[in-house]
Amino acid sequence: MFNIILNPPTFLVMALIGGLLIAIIASPLGIFMVWQKQSYFGATLAHSALLGVSLSLLFDLNPTLAIIFVSISIGMILFFLEQKSLLSTDTLLGILAHSSLAFGLIILSFQPSVQVDLMNYLFGDILSINQLDIILLISLLVAVLIYFANYWNQLLNLTLNKELAKIDGINIKNVQLAYILLLALLISLAIKIVGILLITSLLIIPAAAAHKLAKSPEQMLIYSLVIAIISVTGGLLASVMQDTPTGPSIVVCATLIFLASLIKK
């Protein structure tokens, strides 16, 4: 059993690299998700990914690219509907999450041999990480680094109070839209390893665990980064050694750390 860790097969190395990249990218995005109370937003983007999966099967496209396309579209639609403020945000999210999920399931039902695929997308599948995913994740990491180097303070300001941020000359629309696009991209890419049902928890649980320990936004980022990395590594190891599903293993790992953080006063 330990042999697999000492002489890891290529797929495991790929999975680990992919998982760590996701953990690093998810941390800054996840803490803002917690601060802005946007967790349902992430869930909506993840649900819509199933529509991407079924479209990719229907038109024989690369699933990752199809998911990226659908997530970004849903993210943009949400952003602009929110600006119009016709309905409250949680109502909009509910409509988009479940209508895209329903569309996705109906399209899937027309196709044979989808059982296996569906399970993998719902719960994640370490075997499915390939070179394209790694390249896309590295590109996304660079984009996220550039974004936060420039807009970390601005995003903090608009998280605290949109009016004050606007008066201070921050272009809150652009900063927020860019954040949403990065989030949509991460969710599209992370689905392979954590799965549609659990991706939100990878964004939120490390941030929530870090919250107890942190005294500044930057500290919370670092703690959340460490917790996410431990969770992904631990979950992957458990998955390989005990043959548990990858996504749930990672989430359980993160949850255990979160519970431990509660002990601290």
Binding site: W152, L160, I167, K215, P217
Partner: protein
């Protein structure tokens, strides 16, 4: 632009109209704020005070009318209440640093200079002891002062304060008014203060604007210290406040003045 002693106004509203749907909120509102002048905007709830502020701050665009700003006008704004998410861990000093929202590279170089400004401001407002406290641990009055600190940290030419003394007791009000005066005298800035108290305004107010959808009346307040009746009822400790007497027909302006 009309002038006052050859000084240009910091900001000037001319014939501003605004409505939400069918509800007319502002009708033909015109006024100007000059440097080193305190203008207090009063009016009952729903009078359109918040809307007028939003328009002055360019958060909203008026249906009709113009807002002229002095070129490169810098505005410091103290909002009425800031909703703070307690999951964002933030100390007072970090919160004030955020007023300077440049990217992290510039931030690194500016930090030293910013920190000394922050310290001076905290000392001026008597809240240096709060410097390293978490925002969520502050009391209402303490947080009010921190918000005021954030508004003045960039030395604005125009200071806009939305109900700064709301929920503060009389003693605290006097202190806060005193601080506002002190800062105004140092920065020589214009001050626009919003209050829903229709009678008692900051003593150094040069001009009171009474808004109820339209500008009902305007004028300067009379000092409380000469009003012995008031002192008899409320006692002393009102050095920083003054009474404003409305000079309009209450039938035209359907708000009560509590008398």
């Amino acid at each position: 632009m009309p002038q006052k002693n050859n000084i240009l106004p910091l900001i000037q509203a001319t014939n501003v109209f605004h409505s939400y749907g069918n509800r007319q909120v502002l009708t033909d509102v015109s006024f100007a704020i000059y440097p080193n002048e305190v203008v207090t905007l009063i009016g009952p709830n729903g009078a359109g005070k918040s809307t007028l502020l939003k328009i002055l701050l360019s958060l909203e665009k008026s249906n009709k009318g113009t807002i002229e700003r002095k070129p490169n006008l810098t505005i410091g704004f103290m909002p009425q209440k800031v909703h703070l998410d307690s999951s964002l861990p933030l100390t007072v000093v970090r919160f004030l640093q955020l007023a300077n929202h440049s990217n992290i590279f510039n931030n690194f170089y500016q930090k030293k200079q910013t920190n000394s400004t922050i310290e001076q401001t905290l000392i001026e407002l008597g809240i240096l002891s709060l410097k390293n406290r978490q925002l969520k641990s502050l009391s209402g009055g303490e947080f009010q002062r921190v918000l005021f600190a954030r508004a003045i940290i960039k030395k604005p030419q125009l200071l806009i304060l939305d109900e700064p003394v709301q929920g503060v007791d009389v003693q605290g009000q006097t202190e806060l008014y005193h601080l506002i005066n002190k800062v105004k005298d140092r920065l020589k800035c214009g001050v626009l203060m919003v209050s829903h108290d229709l009678h008692i305004v900051m003593k150094s107010t040069n001009k009171v604007l009474c808004l109820n959808q339209h500008l009902c009346c305007s004028g300067s307040p009379s000092s409380i210290s000469v009003n012995l009746e008031f002192q008899k009822i409320f006692g002393t400790g009102f050095e920083e406040v003054a009474i404003y007497e409305h000079h309009h027909n209450p039938d035209q302006c359907d708000h009560t003045h509590g008398d």
